[in-house]
C-alpha cells in the first residue's frame, strides 16, 4: 500500500488512529484496540479492520481471525437497543426460552434475523451474566432486568418502543 493511500485513509479513520496511538501501535494490543474501535462505531466495519491490519503491519487474516473468533465483536451493525436474554443454566431451568420466543414475536424477527429492519433492536442470547440468583435475566444495553417473564419482557420492549415514538413527537 502506498504511503499516500495510508495518509488519505488515516484522515478517514482519524478516530481509529487515535485509538491505535493510545495503544502504542502494538500488535499484542489487538483485542483492546478492537474493543475500543467497536465502542466508537458500535461494530467493526470491514474497511476499518483492513486499515488496522495495514497500520499494525499484521496480515489481514490475523485481524479478521481475531474479530470473528470472539463473540463480543460484531461485524454487522447492531440496533440501538441490544437486548440480551441470558440462556445460562440457571436462567434456562427457570424458563428463559419462552422469553426468547416472546421477544422474537414482539420484535417480528424472522428465523436467523437478529436486528430489526428499523435498526432499533438487536436480540442476542448470552450464556450467563453472573446475576443467576435473579434468573431469568434480560439485559438491555447495560441495564439488567431480573426475574423476567414473557409478559414483563413484552412490556419492557413496548416501553422502549414508546420512548422512541415519544422522542419523535
Amino acid at each position: 500500500m502506498s504511503p499516500e493511500m495510508l495518509v488519505s485513509r488515516a484522515e478517514k479513520f482519524s478516530k481509529v488512529c487515535g485509538i491505535l496511538e493510545r495503544f502504542g501501535h502494538k500488535p499484542t494490543m489487538l483485542i483492546p484496540i478492537l474493543q475500543a474501535v467497536q465502542e466508537e462505531y458500535r461494530y467493526l466495519p470491514e474497511e476499518v479492520l483492513s486499515f488496522i491490519a495495514a497500520t499494525l503491519d499484521l496480515p489481514p487474516a490475523r485481524v479478521f481471525g481475531a474479530a470473528t473468533f470472539y463473540a463480543h465483536f460484531a461485524l454487522k451493525p447492531k440496533g440501538r437497543y441490544v437486548i440480551r436474554v441470558c440462556d445460562g443454566t440457571a436462567c434456562h431451568v427457570k424458563d428463559s426460552e419462552p422469553i426468547l420466543n416472546k421477544l422474537r414475536t414482539v420484535l417480528g424477527l424472522g428465523k436467523g434475523q437478529q436486528t430489526t429492519e428499523d435498526m432499533e433492536f438487536t436480540l442476542e442470547t448470552v450464556s450467563c451474566l453472573g446475576a443467576c440468583g435473579l434468573a431469568p435475566v434480560v439485559v438491555v444495553n447495560e441495564e439488567v432486568h431480573s426475574l423476567m417473564t414473557p409478559e414483563k419482557t413484552e412490556a419492557l420492549v413496548n416501553g422502549l418502543k414508546g420512548r422512541k415514538e415519544g422522542m419523535a413527537a
Partner: protein
C-alpha cells in the same frame, strides 16, 4: 516514593469511622442493582440531606467534630434473592427487599431513633421468626464466610477500609520479611488447591515457576468465569478487588514476577471497572509499581477485558488472547510455568484462589488447614441458583454436604407453585459444562475435590444449579451439549464435529425420532470426544450427558421407547390434557393458548381441542394448579 505506611492509614481510617454516628451499607452487587438498589441509594442521600444531616459517601470527607452519617456501597452480600439489602451499623440490622419508599422510615426509626423497622426484617419462613441480621438469618449462620467476609461489607472503592481490616499486611510481610521460598512453602503447606475447577495444588504450581531461572515472569489472574450459573469470581472482583491484587502480589513474590494480568470476561463490566480502579489506587500508594512496599522489587498489573469466548478460560487459550491472537488452546507440555505468556514462565490462578492467598499468609498453613477436609483444606464459595428458595452466593467448608447446602442454607427446593417438598428435588448441576448432574442419592456426599472426582463429577468453579421435578433432564443434557458445541474453538475434529453429532442425537430423542440404537451411539461418540480432544473443554464435554445418562436413564427411556416426556417439557412429545378433577376453570390457560385450543365455562373444568393444539406447552407453564398434564 515513600513506602506506604499501612498502620497510619488504618489508624486514620478508624479515627474517622469512629466519628460517624451511623453507617448505612447498601448492597450494590449486580443482583441488588437489578432489583433497584441505585434508586434506594439516591433516596438515602436525598432524605438525609433534606433533614439537614451530614452525609459522607467517602469517609475521607468526615470532619472530626461533626458526627455525620456514612453511606456506602458494598459488593454482593450473597443474599441476592432478598435484595436490595440495606444494613445499618453499628447495630448490624439488615433490611431486605428495600424500596425507595421505605427509606424515610428507615432513617427516622433506625438511623435516628435506633429502633428496627420490623416489616423490613427477614422472616425465617420455616420458624416464622424475625431475624435482625446476618447474626441470626439461617442463610448466613450456617455458612463459614472467610473469603467473602469482607466482600459485601467493605466499600470496594476505598482501599483504606481494606487496609484498616488488615489488608495488604500479608503482601507486605511476603515482600519485606519472608523469602520467596518461605512464601511458596507456606502456600504448599497450607494445602491450598486451585479453585478454578481442577483443584491443582497452588503451591506446587508456584514451585515450578519459582524454579525457573530468574528473568521476566508473569502472574495471571483468571477472571474469565465462563461457566454458566457461576458468579463467585465476579462477586469477589466487584466486592473486594484488593484481595485479588494482594494475592497476586504474594504470588509475584513467590515466583519472582514483575508483571501481572487480570483477565476479566467482557460480560462483567463492573468487575473490570472495580479492578481497574483498585489497581490504580494501589499504584498511587506504592503498593504496586516500581518498588513494592519499598522493597526495590517492581510489580505492575494490567487489567484486560476478554471478548466473549468461553474457551479463553483455559489457560493456554487465555494467554493467546492476551497476546492478541484467537483464543485457541495449545498442547501441554510445555506448561505455562516453564513457557507461558510471551514465552516466559507464568502462573495462572483463579480469582478465588488468589483471594484466598492473603488468608493463608495471615492465618498460617496450620490454621488454614483447620477448616475443610484433610485433602481439600479451607472453604469454597458456591453460586447457589435454580429452583431453590435462597439463591445467592454462599461459602462453606469443604466437606459440607449438598443436603446442608440445598435444604439448610438454600431453604429447600421451589416449584412453580411455590415452596416445594424434599421430593420435589430432582437434581443439582455442579461444575458447569465440565461437570455433572447429581441425583438425590448424592445428597449426603461431602463436597470436596476427590470425592467428586470419584463419581466422575467435579467441583468446577462452584456453580450449583438446583433443579426440581419440572426439569427435563434430556433437555438439560442438550443444553450443555449446545453450550460446548457453540463454544468449541474448532481446532480438534472430535470436539468440533463430535459435539455436533451428540447434539443431533439428543435432538432426535427430544423430537421423538430416536430408536433403540440412539443411546449406544450417543455413548460411543461421547467416549470418542473425551479421548480425542486436546483441551479440557472437549475432554469434559461429554460429562454432563454421561452423568445424566447414568442417573436418569429412565427419563431417556421414556422419551425413546414411550415417546413421552415425564417433565412435560419436550413439546414434540407432550399431549396436554386437562385433569378435570384439579381444574377450577380459572381460565388462565385460555389466555396463554396461542391457538384458542382451550375452551370452557368459568369455574368449570376446561377442555383442550387436540386438533387445534400445536403443543407449545404454554398452558402447562401457566396453570398454577397443576391441572394440565
Amino acid at each position: 516514593m515513600e513506602p506506604v505506611r499501612l498502620e497510619e492509614i488504618a489508624e486514620e481510617y478508624r479515627r474517622r469511622s469512629s466519628a460517624v454516628a451511623a453507617r448505612i451499607v447498601l448492597c450494590a452487587g449486580t443482583g441488588c442493582i437489578a432489583n433497584g438498589a441505585n434508586k434506594v441509594f439516591a433516596m438515602f442521600k436525598t432524605v438525609l440531606e433534606a433533614k439537614g444531616l451530614d452525609v459522607y459517601v467517602d469517609l475521607k470527607m468526615v470532619e472530626e467534630d461533626k458526627a455525620g452519617f456514612h453511606l456506602s456501597e458494598s459488593g454482593c452480600q450473597g443474599f441476592c434473592q432478598m435484595g436490595p439489602l440495606v444494613t445499618v451499623l453499628p447495630d448490624n440490622i439488615m433490611y431486605t427487599r428495600v424500596k425507595a419508599a421505605d427509606v424515610a422510615e428507615i432513617i427516622e426509626e433506625t438511623v435516628i431513633n435506633k429502633r428496627p423497622v420490623t416489616r423490613l426484617l427477614y422472616k425465617d419462613p420455616a420458624t416464622k421468626e424475625v431475624c435482625r441480621g446476618t447474626g441470626d438469618i439461617p442463610f448466613y449462620t450456617q455458612q463459614k464466610r472467610m473469603l467473602l467476609k469482607m466482600c459485601g461489607q467493605i466499600d470496594p472503592g476505598d482501599i483504606n477500609e481494606y487496609i484498616a481490616l488488615g489488608g495488604y499486611a500479608g503482601a507486605r510481610r511476603a515482600h519485606l520479611e519472608l523469602s520467596a521460598d518461605d512464601v511458596t512453602r507456606i502456600v504448599e503447606d497450607s494445602g491450598l488447591r486451585g479453585r478454578g475447577g481442577g483443584g491443582f495444588p497452588t503451591g506446587r504450581k508456584w514451585r515450578a515457576a519459582a524454579a525457573q531461572p530468574p528473568g521476566k515472569k508473569y502472574v495471571i489472574c483468571n477472571g474469565d468465569e465462563g461457566d454458566p450459573g457461576a458468579f463467585m469470581d465476579r462477586s469477589v472482583m466487584e466486592g473486594n478487588p484488593h484481595s485479588v491484587i494482594e494475592g497476586m502480589l504474594i504470588a509475584a513474590r513467590a515466583i519472582g514476577a514483575d508483571e501481572g494480568y487480570v483477565y476479566v470476561r467482557a460480560e462483567y463490566p463492573l468487575a473490570v471497572k472495580r479492578m481497574r480502579a483498585a489497581v490504580e489506587i494501589a499504584g498511587s500508594l506504592g503498593i504496586l509499581g516500581e518498588s513494592v512496599f519499598g522493597s526495590g522489587r517492581p510489580f505492575r498489573i494490567n487489567v484486560m477485558e476478554g471478548a466473549g469466548a468461553f474457551v479463553c478460560g483455559e489457560e493456554t487459550a487465555l494467554m493467546a488472547s492476551i497476546e492478541g491472537r484467537r483464543g485457541m488452546p495449545a498442547p501441554k507440555p510445555p506448561f505455562p510455568a516453564e513457557c507461558g505468556l510471551f514465552g516466559k514462565p507464568t502462573i495462572i490462578n483463579n480469582v478465588e484462589t488468589l483471594a484466598s492467598v492473603p488468608i493463608v499468609i495471615s492465618l498460617g498453613a496450620e490454621q488454614f488447614r483447620a477448616t475443610g477436609t484433610k485433602a481439600s483444606p479451607g472453604t469454597k464459595t458456591f453460586a447457589l441458583t435454580g429452583h431453590v428458595a435462597n439463591t445467592g452466593l454462599i461459602e462453606v467448608p469443604f466437606g459440607t454436604s449438598l443436603r446442608t447446602i440445598i435444604f439448610d442454607i438454600g431453604g429447600g427446593v421451589t416449584t412453580r407453585r411455590g415452596p416445594g417438598k424434599p421430593e420435589d428435588f430432582k437434581a443439582v448441576q455442579i461444575g458447569g459444562p465440565s461437570g455433572a448432574c447429581l441425583s438425590p442419592r448424592y445428597l449426603d456426599l461431602p463436597l470436596e475435590f476427590d470425592s467428586l472426582k470419584a463419581i466422575n463429577a467435579m467441583v468446577g468453579s462452584g456453580g450449583l444449579v438446583v433443579m426440581n421435578q419440572d426439569t427435563c433432564m434430556v433437555q438439560v443434557a442438550r443444553f450443555f451439549m449446545q453450550f460446548t458445541q457453540s463454544e468449541s474453538c474448532g481446532k480438534c475434529v472430535l470436539c468440533r464435529e463430535g459435539t455436533y453429532q451428540m447434539l443431533v442425537l439428543l435432538d432426535d430423542i427430544i423430537e421423538g425420532r430416536a430408536d433403540e440404537r440412539t443411546i449406544g451411539l450417543l455413548e460411543s461418540v461421547a467416549r470418542a470426544v473425551g479421548t480425542g480432544s486436546l483441551c479440557g473443554l472437549g475432554k469434559s464435554a461429554p460429562n454432563p450427558v454421561l452423568s445424566i445418562l447414568r442417573d436418569f436413564r429412565g427419563e431417556f427411556d421414556a422419551h425413546i421407547a414411550h415417546k413421552r416426556c415425564p417433565a412435560n417439557k419436550c413439546t414434540a412429545l407432550i399431549r396436554p390434557s386437562i385433569v378435570a378433577s384439579k381444574c377450577r376453570g380459572c381460565g388462565l390457560c385460555v389466555k396463554s393458548c396461542p391457538t384458542g385450543a382451550i375452551t370452557g365455562e368459568r369455574k368449570q373444568a376446561h377442555i383442550i381441542n387436540e386438533a387445534l393444539c400445536i403443543r407449545c406447552g404454554a398452558c402447562l407453564t401457566t396453570c398454577k394448579l397443576g391441572a394440565i398434564a
